[in-house]
Subunit: 541 residues, 2 copies
């Protein structure tokens, strides 16, 4: 069963071995574990539902019981976790509806509009920015789960287009396509529980976007139920016919309407796939090689460069102490010592094409004195690519919080942005007398720049208010650093609640006014996911 | 000097040799040439300007003389040509302003808003859909030429980003980049006279978009002066921060604001480039091969498949009768007879990479019994790629009109769309007792489908009303065929005036309302390029 107060399935445990705990203790001190609030107590804390199904057709399930409301109340942001772990749920939706068709969603929208009920679209609830979090409101709040709109509706092999219900989870989508020999190729770290509709609504990017593109490139068309009626977007290969309506849906974060189905561009399943690791003596060498690879486009499917602290951390958490020690000794002999950085390279496609791409890429790495260590570490990364998220559960059990932020900047700003974000986090926690273990990787590489993805591990205080204050101070500091560095407030997580205050820095007053005008057009009464994306919430009117 | 009533520079003549004329006469009958209206008479026909520069800073040039107004009155659509050739100009702008900076454009916008003057942004005036055509209006109309905002303002080699004034012509942009070792790689057929700002405003696509992407992918950010103030869009490599403001500017066709500068993603100039030709026995074989190439993505820069009639036409117009006859005889022996289709393939990049891509691609062609004829025809196409447009001038001199339409559809619809469009054109002109020489190519190939680009050659009547009626009947018929086939009303030319009636078929009522809401937000008084993109013009309010 899915964890109600953490990541993933209860049956999956990610153990932090003693070496790893020793490593963290050396960096930031030992954590002090504390007990989580029990599920029943959290349920009991919810205010009574203000919703009744009056007027709603009987076939549309609307749950108002506390367990269902609790399980749909929050996402995976750190403040969401604090509320769950401490049992300080506060606001929860008044109910959860489970429509089974686009028509059901249409009915729900009309029903909600007639009654002044706010609606929060809910895919997998994996948002780390507060997208699905209900906020206190005089209006009743209904969360609309897309869980029952999850099937493949159509596959056109000739056009390589597939249509799915928007609530389909990543693994189910891929499994349905793989059965026919196709893949979508969209693998965000949240893959296990995030949904197609959620990817579109938040402009998601997958780990192999270098080959498959971001969700913007994969989303060909679809259907959206809005307060103004149904938006049906045909899947043209390309068009110059004015405004691209897909772009109004992408990144709309549930405020324009509820995506009920989407048509995506699929690809033949790769015949061959390989992940290699290369080490560089320094960040400067690694970043130069990464840029050369991104700009020369040898045709890879993955590039991922860890900075020195992340490289050390990955090796420390990997287990296999003796093997890692041997590797590090060997790398040191090849010039890759303390400041070394690991680059992962992936190639996917035909056997010949992918191998040729990897050969070309490894040749480029050699020009920057990269030390190729073969496929073992790459393969290990591939196996753990969706498991790493479970580390957050394990760290919590030992009294540690893990949070991440990410941005994208042009190449000339990459290094300075990384440094500024990590320093801002350290300064923020120093105010509480705490240290942070901060590390960074470039997760998505473009000819123009890269995403800069930083992870922060720090100790929990064991007190809700204190931990919320620590998080808020850290989040403000790193967000400020991102904006001051010229980065976007999000490259792949979206805006939600947590990034909304920083949006105007990049959109400008004119851009914000335009976004508000679009939201107001589709949702004049401000019923859809209030407060997300645009900070002033229901005051969007 | 640039032609005032046709395409391109007066010094460039494209001769139609006797064989070509015989070919056309056999297809649609001999044309009957007639005299063009003289420039002076066309100037004299203009109504007096209703504009005075009162209140405008002296440094901003505002021309109200008839020659300047005439030279900016119309684009390159067929109805525009009819007006020019017959001297039936009708409405022209009341003046043409030549701002020299973004600040000048800002001043012009504010000045026009205060006086209720409509503004038409003007790049190179190459629109084939009526984008720059002034319409009769109780308000004075000012065309804003971006000709003096044409320099490269910044080149960031590390980020491969270049910023230009929006009025830069294609060749000037490429020359400035080439001097530093870079290219943008955006080559629409209008390249010689179209501008960066125009490409963005109309969602242009270049001949080598397979490698470089459409303008949507190349446009990283920029500055737009709107009635609501300045929109400044930073050039992030990618972002998930809500609505992408670039997408509000792309395809806005001068109705959201005036683009004054744009930052584009550039690429190292290719070390090597080659164009090859392959013939297929039939359209079915050629289309299957083209789809296989688009879906297997060997890394080409160009794919262009001509249907049998276009293939015959290209060979007939090429000159070199004996060489062509030899080629055709040889092709016939290899199985490519009357129904043969020519596929052009281009590869660009590093010598090794481009050659490997071409090798892979030619291997795929062999699987569909493609007959490779080497580089000569490809090279000839490359040399003539921006010269073919001049054919329109030459045909006119012999009494023939040439018009084109284009769409994009999914692979399963490609063949039927092509047939429907060509048949609709034939039926339309049959109503006038005329034949049409119609031929088609797939100009841009995607894994999901292709653009379908049809050319129509037919006889002019030598009478303005009659020729306008023929064009209108033909245009309506082919547009109806496109929409009925499930195609977008434009893959690369944009909407303008001529395609506006067909936009709702693909956007739906809800989509149209959303587009109107965006226009209304930026331009509440409807001053910007009224009537374009959205059919109801100033009634957008």
């Amino acid at each position: 069963m899915r964890r109600w107060n953490g990541w993933g399935d209860e049956s999956v445990a990610y153990a932090l071995h003693d070496d790893a705990l020793g490593f963290l203790a050396g960096r930031i001190g030992s954590g002090a574990p504390f007990a989580d609030a029990p599920f029943d107590a959290a349920c009991a804390s919810l205010a009574p539902s203000r919703l009744q199904a009056t007027g709603l057709p009987a076939h549309i399930a609307l749950a108002t019981d506390a367990p269902t409301r609790l399980r749909h109340a929050l996402g995976q942001s750190l403040p969401d976790w604090l509320r769950l772990r401490y049992g300080r749920i506060g606001t929860a939706p008044d109910g959860v509806a489970f429509p089974e068709s686009g028509e059901d969603v249409r009915i729900l929208l009309d029903w909600a509009a007639a009654r002044g009920v706010s609606l929060i679209a809910h895919g997998g609830g994996t948002s780390v920015a507060g997208h699905v979090t209900a906020q206190a409101s005089p209006r009743p709040v209904l969360t609309v789960s897309l869980a029952r709109l999850a099937g493949m509706l159509h596959l056109d092999r000739e056009a390589q287009l597939a249509t799915f219900g928007a609530g389909v989870f990543g693994p189910d989508l891929e499994a349905q396509l793989r059965a026919h020999g196709y893949v979508l190729g969209h693998y965000p770290q949240s893959f296990e529980y995030s949904t197609l509709g959620g990817w579109i609504a938040t402009r998601s990017s997958g780990q192999q976007s270098l080959r498959y593109g971001r969700i913007e490139q994969l989303f060909a068309g679809g259907r959206v139920e809005t307060p103004r009626g149904t938006l049906e977007i045909p899947p043209f290969p390309a068009s110059a016919a004015g405004t691209d309506l897909r772009e109004i849906v992408l990144g709309s974060e549930g405020r324009v309407g509820i995506i009920t189905q989407a048509t995506v561009r699929v690809t033949m399943a790769p015949e061959y796939e390989a992940f290699h690791a290369v080490f560089f003596a320094s960040w400067a060498d690694g970043a130069r090689a990464a840029r050369a690879l991104a700009q020369s486009r040898p045709g890879l499917s993955l590039l991922r460069l860890s900075n020195p602290v992340e490289t050390v951390t990955m090796l420390a958490l990997a287990g296999h102490r003796r093997l890692v020690a041997l590797l590090e000794r060997w790398l040191r002999l090849r010039g890759c010592g303390d400041g070394k950085c690991m680059l992962l390279l992936g190639a996917s496609g035909t056997r010949d094409g992918a191998r040729a791409a990897m050969r070309t890429a490894l040749g480029t790495c050699r020009q920057y004195r990269g030390v190729h260590v073969g496929r073992k570490l790459g393969e290990k990364w591939r196996q753990g690519r969706f498991r790493n998220v479970y580390l957050r559960n394990a760290a919590w059990q030992h009294g540690y919080a893990i949070d991440t932020v990410e941005t994208a900047v042009d190449w000339p700003r990459v290094g300075a942005t990384m440094d500024a974000v990590e320093a801002a986090a350290a300064d923020a926690l120093a105010q509480y007398g705490e240290r942070v273990h901060a590390y960074t990787h470039l997760s998505h590489l473009y000819p123009q720049g890269a995403s800069v993805y930083s992870t922060f591990v720090y100790r929990l205080a064991g007190d809700y208010e204190e931990d919320l204050a620590r998080w808020r101070t850290l989040k403000n500091a790193v967000s400020q650093a991102i904006v001051a560095s010229g980065g976007t407030i999000s490259h792949q997580h979206g805006v939600g609640l947590d990034h909304a205050p920083w949006l105007e820095a990049e959109k400008g007053a004119g851009g914000m006014a335009a976004i508000r005008a679009v939201l107001r057009h589709f949702d004049p009464d401000g019923l859809l996911n209030p407060g997300k994306l645009v900070a002033d919430g229901e005051a969007v009117r």
